[in-house]
Amino acid sequence: MKNRAFIFVLLFVLLFVAFIGDLLTGNAPITPAETWLALFGTSGDEIIDEIIRNYRLPKAITAAIAGSALSLSGLLMQTLFRNPLAGPDVLGVSAGAGLGVALLTMLSGTIVYPFISAMGSMAQIIAAIAGAAVVLVLILAVSARIKDSITILVLGMIFGYVASALVTILQSFADPDSLKVFVTWTFGSLGGVTWNKMPFLLVLTAFGILVSLFLQKSLNSLLLGENYAASTGLNIKRIRISIIAIAAVVTGAVTAFTGPIAFVGVVIPHFARTFFGTVNHKTVLPATLLMGSILLLICDIVSQIPLTGRTLPVNAVTAVFGAPMIVWIVLKRKKL
C-alpha cells in the first residue's frame, strides 16, 4: 500500500515535470526564465507573453485533459466489454464526430456556410459535438434495449464503420482544398483550444471524470462478469448506460476540440494495471487519469521535435512514439 502511495506521488511529480516540459518546448526560442516571467508577471516581450500564456499554457492543459479523458474512456470500455482491445473509439463516437466535421468541411461553401460564418472556428467544434451526439443517442437507445454488452460493442463498431464510410463518400466528392482542411483535422491538434473554448472542454470532461469516480465499486463488480455483478444487487442496465454515456461524452468532447487522438485510450489502462499490478479500479482509475495526461504531454513535446516550423500530427505521435514505450514495458514485465 505504501508502495502504491509512493508511485502515485511519483506520477504527480512526473505530471508536473511533463507539464513544465511542455511549456518549455516549442518552435519559438524562449528560455525557462522568460517562460517563468511570462507566466507569473511579464517577460517584457509581449510576443513571448502571448506564446506562453495564450498558446503553450492552454495547449498543455488541453493535453493533460485530453490524455486523462481518453484514457478514462478506454478504461471504462475495457471493463464494460471485458475486452482488452476496446478503446474510446469502439462506440463509434469519434467516427460520429468525424462525420460531423466532414459534413461541415465538404459542404462548407454551400448550405452550411451561414452557420460557419456566424460561429467562426467554433463551427467545427459544434459540428463534431453534434456528430458525436447523434452516435451517442443511437448507442444509448441500443443499450437500453439490448441485454448483451458484446452486442452493444458490435453495434457501436458498426455505427463507427457507417460514419467512416459516409466520410469517405463525402471525401470522394470534395474539392481538394476542403479535403485538405478535413485531413488536417484528422491529424489531431492540441493547440486549437483557446481560452474562450477551454471552459466547454473542461466542463464536459470534468463531469465525466467526476461521475466515474463514483462508479469504481460497480466497475470492480463488472470485472467478475455481468451475472456475478447482477447477483451482488447491481443494476446492470443502469450502470452500463452510465458507463457508455460517460465514455461517449468525454470522447466526443475531446475529439471535437482536438480531432481524433488514437492509441492513448487503448493503451494507458493496460499500462496502469500492469504498473500497479492490480485490476482494482480504486487504484487503476486514478492511475489511468494521471498516466493518460503524462503520456499525451510527452507526445506533445515529441511532436515539436522537427523544430522546422512543421510539427508532427499528434494523432500519429501518440502511436509512433507511445507504442515503443509500451512495448518496452511489456517486454520487461513479460505480460500486459
Binding site: 516549442g26 518552435n27 519559438a28 526560442p29 510576443i47 502571448e50 506564446i51 495564450n54 498558446y55 468541411t105 462548407s108 461553401g109 454551400t110 456556410y113 451561414p114 460557419i116 460564418s117 456566424a118 460561429m119 467562426g120 472556428s121 467554433m122 463551427a123 467545427q124 467544434i125 459544434i126 459535438i129 451526439a133 451517442l136 466528392f173 474539392d175 481538394p176 482544398d177 476542403s178 485538405k180 482542411v181 488536417t184 491529424f187 491538434s189 493547440g191 486549437g192 483557446t194 474562450n196 466547454f200 466542463v203 464536459l204 463531469f207 465525466g208 461521475v211 442496465k237 443502469r238 452510465s242 454515456a245 460517460i246 461524452v249 468532447a253 522546422t308 516550423g309 512543421r310 510539427t311
Partner: protein, 392 residues
C-alpha cells in the same frame, strides 16, 4: 429513478451545447458592423474582379473583401491609414500603410509583391520547400525568410515570433483557428480570395487590392493595365481563328478525374484561347469529378489535353494503358504544367501564373495555333516527351 439518473449526461451535454452557441453568438455581435456614415470621396473602378472594392475617404482608404459564399456581410474590411492621428470608423481591421513586414501563406502573392517591388517585406512563408521564386528560395536557405510549415496549419509560435505587421492567408469557406488566433494576438490577416474569381484577368486584378496596402495603388493599376492590355490584344488576335480545336483538361487521381466546370477559371481560359471545351455550357464554377470511363467517352476525341500530370508518353502508358485511347495522346498533343519546376517540387505555375494570365493564354495559343505566335516559347506548359518514363 433509472430515467432520472440517466438523463444527467444528456442534460449536461445539452447545456454545454447551449452555452457554446450563446457564447459564440454574443461574441459575434460586437465583432464587425460595417459601412461608415460618411460617403467615400472616390471609389476605385474594378474592371474584372468581383471579390473586392477599394474606396477613398479624406484621410484613409477602405478595402472591402466580399464574401464569395454569402452576400449577407463582407468577408473582411480594412481601414488603411498613413498617420496615427487619423480618425477611423469603428470596426474593421485597421492597418497603417505602407506595410513593411508580412508573412505570406499563399504562393499566389509572391509575384504580386515582386511586381510591386515589395518582395523584401516577406518575413515568412509556408511550404518553403515547394517555393519556386528564386529570390524567396534563396532567402529561405539563408534563413532571412522563415518556413512556417503547412499552409493549412501554419506554425503559430514561429509566426508570432516574426511579429509581422500582417499575415496574408488563403481564405476557405471555413473560419480557421489559425487566423482567429493571430487576429486575437493582434496580427491582422489579409485574406487571399482571388482564387474564387473565375476569370484569368479577374484573378490578376487582385494585384490592385494588395497594392493598396503598400500605398502603391497607381503602380498596381499601371501593372495590371499592362497585363490586361497584353491579354486582350492576344485574345483579339485569335478571335477569327478557325476551325477551333477541341480540348480536355485535368488528370486521373485514384480513379477520379477532376475536369473544370463550365464557368471555371480553366473553362474561361480555354474560351479566350479559342479552344472548344465540351463542358463550356456547364454551370459549375469549381471542378467536376468524373471516372475514367466518362472521360474516355466524352473527351476521347478531344484534340488537345492540358494539365496532364505525366512527363512522358511512356510514363502515361505505364500509369494506365487506357490513356492511349485518347485522341490527344494519339496525336501527341498532350501538355503538362511542369515547364518551370524545382527539384524539390516547386512549380512556378502555382506562383506566377496568377499574375501572368497573358502568358497562360500565350501558352495555350502557342500549343494549339502555333502559327499565331511563331517566336513565343512556352512559359508554364510543356509538351510530353517520348522518352521512357524512368529517364524523364
Amino acid at each position: 429513478m433509472l430515467q432520472k439518473k440517466n438523463s444527467l449526461p444528456f442534460l449536461s451535454f445539452a447545456c454545454g451545447l447551449l452555452f457554446l452557441m450563446c457564447a459564440c453568438q454574443s461574441g459575434q455581435h460586437h465583432k464587425k458592423k460595417v459601412l461608415d456614415e460618411d460617403k467615400p470621396v472616390s471609389s476605385v473602378i474594378i474592371r474584372h474582379a468581383k471579390g473586392f472594392q477599394i474606396d477613398h475617404f479624406n484621410n484613409y482608404t477602405r478595402v472591402i473583401l466580399h464574401d464569395p459564399w454569402s452576400e449577407d456581410k463582407p468577408y473582411a474590411v480594412y481601414y488603411l491609414y498613413r498617420n496615427d492621428s487619423t480618425q477611423l470608423p469603428a470596426g474593421g481591421t485597421k492597418l497603417k500603410i505602407p506595410l513593411t513586414s508580412l508573412t505570406v501563406n499563399t504562393f499566389s502573392y509572391f509575384t504580386f509583391l515582386d511586381l510591386l517591388d515589395e518582395e523584401d517585406v516577406i518575413k515568412g512563408v509556408t511550404d518553403g520547400f515547394r517555393v519556386f521564386h528564386p529570390g524567396i528560395l534563396h532567402k529561405l536557405e539563408s534563413g532571412e525568410i522563415a518556413d512556417l510549415g503547412d499552409p493549412f496549419h501554419p506554425n503559430i509560435e514561429m509566426t508570432l515570433a516574426l511579429k509581422p505587421q500582417a499575415i496574408i492567408s488563403s481564405a476557405y469557406a471555413q473560419r480557421d483557428n489559425y487566423s482567429e488566433r493571430m487576429i486575437n494576438a493582434g496580427f491582422p490577416v489579409i485574406y487571399s480570395l482571388e482564387w474564387m474569381e473565375n476569370s484569368p484577368l479577374a484573378r490578376a486584378e487582385w494585384i490592385r487590392m494588395i497594392a493598396a496596402f503598400f500605398d502603391k495603388e497607381t503602380m498596381g493599376d499601371t501593372i495590371f493595365t499592362g497585363i490586361e492590355r497584353r491579354y486582350l490584344e492576344l485574345q483579339n488576335k485569335i478571335k477569327s481563328v478557325s476551325p477551333q480545336h477541341t480540348v480536355m483538361s485535368g488528370d486521373n487521381f485514384q480513379n477520379t478525374w477532376y475536369v473544370p466546370g463550365g464557368k471555371s477559371f480553366h473553362a474561361i481560359l480555354f474560351r479566350d484561347a479559342q479552344l472548344d471545351y465540351l463542358y463550356k455550357n456547364n454551370r459549375e464554377y469549381g471542378s467536376i469529378a468524373l471516372d475514367i470511363e466518362s472521360v474516355l467517352t466524352r473527351f476521347g476525341k478531344a484534340d488537345y489535353w492540358f494539365g496532364c500530370e505525366a512527363g512522358t508518353y511512356a510514363g502515361l502508358a505505364e500509369k494506365d494503358a487506357k490513356y492511349l485511347l485518347l485522341q490527344s495522346v494519339k496525336k501527341r498533343q498532350v501538355y503538362n504544367n511542369h515547364n518551370r519546376i524545382t527539384p524539390a517540387g516547386g512549380n512556378d505555375y502555382f506562383e506566377s501564373a496568377i499574375a501572368n494570365p497573358d502568358l497562360l493564354l500565350s501558352d495555350l495559343v502557342k500549343a494549339a495555333y502555333p502559327e499565331i505566335l511563331p517566336d513565343y516559347s512556352f512559359t508554364y506548359i510543356k509538351p510530353l516527351e517520348e522518352l521512357p518514363a524512368r529517364e524523364k
